[in-house]
């Protein structure tokens, strides 16, 4: 059994981005996402629990439960790691208030896979990936008696958490000027809902080399290229649903932007903003090249410190307002939920979150076959999409709460027309 360090339990305020998520929850929807790692052997649940016991002490802001104060929610470090949960037939099952009060993340073992599902108030995709890598490293150390060096996002489980890892960086990085929040309403697909709560996961697997080559042909990054494929698929789907072009609504894809590189920080809290490329199909049919160019310039204009600081300022200033701070939590929840419902979810058709190339210490690579990133569906829209690249494969995971794979089908057609080979698998058999 590995040594577990003892430190007093901590509590932290929710960071600026995390504040909206508890208020926006509803009966059938909680903002949860999943990251998983598939290893070479069947997971030993006892060893995984032991590895988790060690790991949670290193991540006081992630291994936490959601508590209520009089004016704000806060996170309190859990006393002990949660039990390893069994897998169900679909990912991201509803996380109830009761569950979040006990622990706002889950660790799930199924055959060769270790999956962790996080409530989004705990951390963002990058923070979650560091947690998963560290948990996996500890598991591999205990299971195969190897030593994994603390590098490539694997943290040393036996050192104390660093102060900068717990920092709410939004407060520090807010700029002097607020960016405008005015935005157009995006097209949302209406289709027959899955009534039993089942979520369909569809994974597209592409060869990294082939995808990078295709992206470079269009002078684009992989994120820009896949976003263009997604927007083209959405445009085609909207045309299929509504043949009259003048009745079309804007196609918008929300791309989360990891701000850690922009502001040089090691925080494990939420520290991501977003950019939303948009095309207006009423203006005419866009070629793929035009869409790539549009996304490329949008991202080039917005992903820089100055612009991001102004977007952060717009959010942070509200939080700093004394009148807002003094409103009791139940009232704040009502207002924030109303804002989220009327503004937040209407900005985009879906989110496309790319964690990029996942790098691991050399010794871990031989044990790890695959990694996945799955976002939960939006509260009022049926789709979301998470992707990452591991080894020589890119894994693009769609999640949906409607019956038919309409968007996935169009996404595949666009990839096929671009000459890209893809393999598809799903959780519906």
């Amino acid at each position: 059994m590995a040594k577990i360090i003892n430190i007093p339990l901590r509590w932290v305020r929710l960071d600026n981005a995390a504040k909206i998520y508890p208020a926006a929850r509803r009966k059938n929807w909680s903002n949860v996402f999943r990251q998983s790692v598939t290893i070479c052997d069947e997971v030993d649940v006892k060893i995984l629990k032991s590895a988790l016991d060690v790991t949670v002490k290193r991540f006081p802001s992630i291994a936490a439960r959601l508590r209520k104060g009089l004016f704000w929610y806060y996170l309190q470090q859990v006393e002990k790691a949660p039990e390893i949960r069994q897998e169900y037939s679909y990912p991201l099952t509803f996380m109830s208030n009761n569950e979040m009060r006990k622990c706002a993340f889950r660790v799930i073992a199924y055959k060769n896979r270790i999956a962790v599902e996080f409530f989004h108030s705990l951390t963002d995709g990058t923070g979650a990936l560091i947690f998963l890598k560290t948990l996996t490293a500890e598991y591999l150390e205990q299971r195969y008696s190897i030593t994994v060096p603390p590098e490539y996002g694997v943290l040393d489980r036996h050192e104390k958490p660093k102060k900068e890892e717990l920092e709410d960086c939004f407060l520090r990085t807010a700029g002097p000027v607020r960016a405008s929040r005015k935005d157009t309403t995006a097209w949302h697909l209406n289709s027959e809902l899955q009534t039993d709560g089942f979520l369909h996961q569809t994974c597209f697997k592409l060869r990294s080399e082939e995808l990078v080559e295709a992206a470079h042909r269009y002078n684009a990054t992989v994120t820009e290229f896949i976003t263009a494929v997604m927007m083209k698929a959405l445009e085609n789907l909207q045309t299929e649903k509504q043949p009259q072009r003048k009745k079309h609504k804007p196609i918008k894809v929300l791309i989360p932007v990891n701000l850690r590189a922009l502001y040089s920080t090691e925080t494990l809290r939420n520290f991501a903003m977003y950019t939303i490329p948009e095309l207006d199909p009423r203006l005419g049919e866009y070629t793929f090249e035009e869409i790539v160019k549009l996304i490329h310039h949008k991202m080039g204009t917005e992903i820089n410190q100055k612009y991001m600081s102004s977007v952060i300022a717009a959010n942070v200033n509200d939080e700093r307002n004394m009148a807002v701070r003094l409103i009791p939590l139940p009232l704040k929840n009502l207002v924030m939920k109303a804002i989220f419902d009327t503004v937040g979810e209407k900005k985009s058709c879906l989110s496309l979150s790319n964690l990029g190339v996942v790098k691991l210490p050399e010794i871990m690579k031989q044990y790890i076959k695959r990694m996945d990133f799955v976002l939960g569906v939006q509260a009022a829209a049926p789709y979301n999409c998470g992707m990452l690249s591991y080894g020589d494969t890119v894994y693009i995971n769609f999640i949906r709460n409607i019956r038919y794979a309409e968007l996935e089908r169009h996404f595949f057609y666009v990839l096929r027309d671009l000459g890209l080979n893809t393999e598809v698998e799903s959780n519906r058999n």
Binding site: Y88, E423, V424, R428
Partner: protein
């Protein structure tokens, strides 16, 4: 293996194409045994609604019932007005609290039930006060109202389009109901038919007609949307 319909390459675990639902089958190709992404048929248990919550609601309804019973007995030595209170509480319970017992209460069932409860309550008041207004007035008016509301709710629930037609038709039917009310008031209480009901009838028919016109004419609908957006 590739899908014979859409052409996507399928993982070995797929029994149907995840994109177009075409069944995967080829008699000459033996497929490898792949690991499915998730276990089959293992769904999370949905937590049933808390019975304690319903217990508390029933208790909240019982408090005024018991207090009313005791006050009526103590002050009058008999049950005089308690029946009205009990009926009102029962009606409130049926309309407000009863649907909460169900996972997904269907308004197409509950709305007629609510009207039936209201009609029974009116019948009780009529019998208790020795009135003779129930059959000639209350029953037909409540019955007609129940028919209009239930029809609107059923159409809204099961038809995805045509809301302007539904609301337009409902407004016209409500206009007709006002005429029926004036007529039944004359029959029941011998009131003079002065024709007040024609004013709401005209207003409601015009309003309903306008909605149906908007439903038919897309240019007018767009213009109204432009003028009235908020």
């Amino acid at each position: 293996m590739y899908c014979i319909n859409c052409g996507v390459r399928l993982a070995d675990t797929e029994k149907k194409c995840p994109l177009c639902e075409t069944v995967v089958y080829h008699p000459d190709i033996i497929r490898g045994e792949g690991e499915p992404l998730y276990p089959e048929n293992r769904m999370p248990q949905r937590r049933p609604k808390s019975k304690a919550f319903h217990g508390v609601v029933i208790f909240l309804f019982l408090i005024p019932l018991i207090i009313g019973f005791l006050i009526d007995i103590r002050t009058n030595g008999d049950l005089t007005w308690f029946g009205f209170l009990a009926g009102a509480l029962l009606l409130s319970y049926v309309t407000v609290a009863l649907p909460w017992w169900f996972e997904k209460p269907n308004p197409v069932i509950f709305v007629p039930c609510d009207f039936a409860a209201a009609i029974l309550y009116l019948l009780f008041i009529n019998l208790h006060t020795g009135g003779d207004w129930f059959m000639p007035l209350a029953f037909p008016v409540m019955g007609a109202l129940a028919l209009i509301v239930t029809t609107v709710i059923t159409l809204l629930r099961y038809l995805k389009k045509g809301r302007l037609y539904i609301f337009g038709g409902a407004l016209m039917a409500l206009g007709g109901l006002t005429v029926l009310i004036e007529f039944l008031l004359k029959v029941t209480f011998g009131l003079k038919m002065v024709g007040w009901s024609f004013y709401p009838l005209v207003a409601l028919v015009l309003l309903g007609g306008a909605l149906i016109y908007l439903a038919i004419n897309s240019a007018a609908r767009e213009m109204m949307g432009r003028k009235l957006f908020f």
